[in-house]
């Protein structure tokens, strides 16, 4: 794990209408680390990920990913990041294989490489049997797996997983854990927003707690459970 911060967030704020979804958020993530981002619904986790993935712009502050500014150098940021969002980003009328092929072709991967690589990725997420079925016939969990495959296809340096366990069965939970460990072994930096605190803490190195758009605590992932318990008691 590198000691250089690959993500640097400085006083980032983002509002929807009058409400600040993020307010003066500051944190850093070391290259190759796994950071769990925790917080209640509406605490700003998804907004933070969307800012870092360049889906939305911050209204104030500065965020750098891989040294690139998420506003001014969004093309460079997009080359090194991948976002597993609440939205599946899938085309309903295309098959699983076609959905991945669309992504691969937009990434500029050559056709032979695409054909060979897609099945391997679909097998990794246990969807090889359904490769030629349209997404409209998929369950929510299968869509999530395919979205996961979409992220793996991008081979990013920074992965943002927004609720990766959502809609998955126990087998899917194990799959997410395995993939996170594999990505970490390759040196990928992973930001993971989850309500599965124990599971997340077992994978993460560091943790950030968000509340009402602010970072209320950051530290070692091992301490996050105790911190969250105290916060619950205080409420």
């Amino acid at each position: 794990m590198g000691s250089n911060p690959i993500i640097r967030v400085e006083n980032v704020g983002r509002r929807y209408g009058r409400r600040w979804a993020l307010a003066d958020v500051n944190f850093e993530a070391r290259e190759g680390s796994v950071i769990m981002v925790a917080g209640r619904n509406g605490s700003g986790k998804s907004t933070l990920f969307r800012v870092l993935a360049t889906a939305i712009r911050p209204d104030r502050g500065r965020a750098l990913v891989g040294g690139f500014n998420v506003v001014r150098e969004r093309e460079d940021v997009r080359k090194i990041t991948a976002l597993l969002s609440h939205y599946s980003y899938l085309y309903e009328s295309l098959t699983a294989r076609e959905n991945l092929r669309v992504v691969a072709e937009h990434l500029g991967v050559g056709r032979p490489a695409v054909n060979n690589g897609l099945m391997a990725i679909l097998e990794r997420v246990n969807l090889a049997q359904r490769a030629d079925d349209t997404v409209s016939t998929f369950s929510a969990g299968m869509r999530k797996r395919l979205s996961f495959a979409r992220v793996l296809l991008q081979q990013p340096r920074v992965v943002m997983l927004d609720e990766p366990y959502g809609q998955l069965d126990p087998e899917g939970f194990v799959l997410v854990d395995e993939v996170v460990r594999e990505l970490k072994a390759k040196g990928t930096t992973i930001l993971m927003a989850t309500h599965q605190l124990e599971r997340g803490a077992s994978l993460a190195d560091d943790a950030v707690l968000l509340d009402a758009g602010r970072v209320i605590w950051s530290g070692s992932a091992r301490d996050v459970l105790a911190k969250d318990r105290k916060r619950e008691e205080a409420c």
Binding site: A53, T54, A55, I56, R57, E75, R78, K79, T81, A82, L83, S85, Y87, S88, Y89, L90, Y91, E92, S93, L94, E98, V102, V103, E105, H106, L107, G108, T134, R150, Q154
Partner: protein, 219 residues
């Protein structure tokens, strides 16, 4: 990148091809209704045939253009593609070309309906197909841009025509005139100037809209 975007669009259109049939029926029904407005005067029907063909195609285009973003908005697939290191212009031109081809085919398919309903045939078939192609290009380029703008609003079916129709008046006028000259005859050789005007507007639309697309779809 453009090839990838175009391939995706053609695939999506192929998967929803039954809708193309519905749009054709809508266009043909519009041509039939226009003929009721004029009445059974053969000469008048022939006189207005080119205008009616383009009105039918214009009304049909609002359906196909708006629909072309349905798949993109369903699971925010367009956002997913924008977050890849891909050029938004390639996404735009892929979609605009696919919409152009769709409208071109629709226009050519509606022509026999025009010929039958209005007795408005021509022997210059290839030139007519070319005019429909150029006119469709004038509809699809700004139509694809405005459909992207209105795709996320609730009243998109109303807003798209409101924005699109004023902008495409020059291209529509040139298309109607050129088609009319092909159907009714062109003793003064005016068609060339109308075609030049159409090509000029197509060039403006295609270059400007491609430049603006990134700003429209990116926050």
């Amino acid at each position: 990148m453009l090839t990838a975007a175009l391939r995706k669009e053609v695939l999506l259109q192929w998967r929803t091809r039954s809708q193309m049939m519905a749009v054709f029926v809508f266009g043909a029904a519009a041509l039939l209704l226009f003929s009721f407005a004029v009445g059974p005067v053969a000469e008048m029907l022939r006189q207005f045939s080119a205008g009616f063909l383009w009105l039918g195609l214009l009304l049909s285009s609002t359906l196909t253009l708006a629909e072309s973003y349905h798949a993109e908005m369903e699971n925010r697939a367009l956002e997913g593609l924008l977050l890849l290191p891909s050029d938004p212009r390639a996404l735009y031109y892929g979609k605009a070309i696919a919409n152009w081809l769709q409208l071109w085919i629709l226009g050519v398919a509606l022509t026999p309906v025009m010929v039958i309903l209005y007795d408005a045939g021509t022997t210059r078939v290839l030139e007519l197909v070319a005019v429909i192609g150029l006119g469709s290009a004038g509809l699809s380029a700004p139509g694809t841009l405005y459909a992207a703008m209105t795709a996320q609003v609730r009243s998109k079916q109303t807003l798209l025509p409101l924005l699109l129709f004023p902008l495409i008046v020059p291209a529509l006028l040139a298309s109607v005139k050129a088609t009319s000259l092909l159907v009714l005859g062109d003793p003064m050789g005016q068609i060339r100037s109308w075609l030049m005007l159409l090509v000029a507007f197509d060039a403006i639309y295609w270059s400007l809209c491609g430049l603006l697309f990134g700003r429209v779809v990116e926050e």
